[in-house]
């Protein structure tokens, strides 16, 4: 729970985040059109992996962080435990993860994905259920309040 995290732990979180930002900068000039991304995976105060997106087309930072220890599974709940009250929550990523974030934080703003042929409202291909009706994600979203979207995949338990 957020309020159980000590001042020391929060200071550590900030240090890990600074480390991730430093790692991200190593991809400078190599990642377009992707952003520079760094990742530090931590569990119980132990760094399990570090990585960064080294070049466009290469492994993403999160993958790089977990290799070669790829058997480590990061429980998404651990990530959301870091959310302190008063912060805005934004997330993008795989659909089951977005559902998990939506369940834990209904006020989150989530970046959804759907196959899009055109991206400007012409093809009607990218519909998702928004406020109970099939709407074009490219026009209504793609970033939407978590509570507005019901997509096809069930949330991970």
């Amino acid at each position: 729970m957020p309020d159980e995290r000590s001042a020391q732990q929060r200071e550590n979180d900030r240090a890990y985040m600074r480390r991730a930002l430093d790692l991200a900068r190593r991809g400078w000039g190599q990642t377009a059109p992707n952003p520079m991304v760094g990742a530090v995976v931590v569990r119980d105060g132990q760094v399990l992996g570090e990585g960064f997106h080294a070049r466009y087309g290469g492994a993403h930072a999160e993958v790089a962080a977990l290799l070669p220890g790829a058997e480590v599974v990061v429980d998404p709940v651990l990530v959301t435990e870091l959310i302190e009250p008063g912060f805005d929550v934004f997330a993008c990523g795989p659909e089951p993860m977005l559902h998990a974030v939506a369940a834990l934080c209904p006020s989150a703003q989530l970046a959804w994905e759907a196959p899009m042929a055109c991206g400007y409202g012409a093809c009607y291909g990218c519909v998702v259920e928004i406020d109970g009706a099939l709407e074009r994600l490219c026009l209504e979203g793609p970033v939407l309040d978590a509570a507005r979207v019901r997509a096809g995949v069930e949330a991970v338990a």
């Binding site: 042929a117 055109c118 012409a122």
Partner: protein, 284 residues
């Protein structure tokens, strides 16, 4: 050669700057009742094309006439309304309610709904009695003899033909299940062009009706090929998803393509694509 959009490949109300490049805007198919359309996923990429299973999502006749059509008129682009339904009376009633548009396209060939129970000729005949607006019959090249269907709709009163609609297809995901929720969808894009060129050729020979050619047109040269096979106008579909400036570009390219082919205008190319065998048959 006028440049239109293929029905269902453009929403002029959300992309008016694309619609204004066209010589006429063709609406998404309007059915008597509102339709939410197929469940997602609705589209899939394939080699040289894509599949869609939108399922005729549309606001229905009543809301289209009251809300959409007046706003479309404000664009200042000539309008063609694509009409769909599930029996001849459905089509005819919508036609009778339309006025002040340039033409009506009868969607007789959507691959993503069950076929209308009545034949293409019955539908065209009913619509012909319901309206004085020009009627274009949009046919499918999946029929074993599309020229025969073209002859039948011409005899029933069609003023022109739109050729071709998408062809039904399936794409599988990694787990060997259909990508599309509906299982199958309509194949569009460059993969369709040879099929479309042939359908235009045989329907032009069979009827002599004005034809809007479509199916994989991406360049001015593509459009000119449709003219050579007998099309009077060209419609852009899938290319609009990748290039919102396609109508203006294709129009500009048409002039160059004509010069390269040694014809003054696309109209002068019409019929050039006759095969030697056809020529022999004509002479005999």
């Amino acid at each position: 050669m006028r440049i239109l959009n293929a029905s269902g490949c453009l929403d002029a109300l959300v992309a008016p700057e694309v619609a204004r490049q066209l010589d006429a805007f063709v609406t998404k198919t309007v059915t008597p009742l509102p339709r939410e359309g197929s469940a997602p996923p609705r589209i899939a990429e394939t080699a040289h094309g894509m599949l869609n299973a939108i399922g005729l999502a549309n606001p229905g006749r009543e809301r289209f006439l009251a809300d959409h059509l007046p706003r479309l008129r404000e664009l200042g682009v000539p309008l063609w309304v694509s009409v769909g339904g599930f029996c001849a009376a459905d089509y005819a009633e919508t036609c009778s309610l339309l006025s002040g548009v340039e033409a009506i396209e009868l969607n007789l060939s959507c691959p993503n709904v069950d076929e209308a129970a009545d034949s293409a000729a019955e539908i065209v005949s009913a619509c012909h009695q319901a309206t004085e607006l020009p009627l274009y019959a949009k046919l499918s090249a999946a029929h074993p003899d599309v020229a025969e269907v073209a002859r039948a709709v011409a005899a029933a009163g069609a003023d022109g033909l739109s050729l071709i609609n998408t062809l039904r297809g399936t794409a599988l995901d990694k787990q060997l299940r259909p990508v599309l929720a509906r299982g199958s969808g309509g194949l569009s894009g460059p993969a369709l062009k040879p099929v479309a060129l042939h359908a235009v050729t045989v329907c032009h020979e069979a009827t002599g009706l004005p034809i809007v050619g479509m199916g994989g047109i991406e360049t001015g040269r593509d459009a000119l090929e449709f003219a050579a096979c007998g099309a009077r106008d060209a419609a852009l579909g899938t290319v609009l998803f990748a290039d919102a400036g396609a109508p203006a570009r294709v129009r500009a390219e048409l002039a160059t393509a004509c010069a390269d082919a040694g014809v003054a205008t696309p109209d002068d190319a019409r019929g050039l694509a006759k095969s030697p065998e056809t020529e022999r048959k004509v002479r005999a």
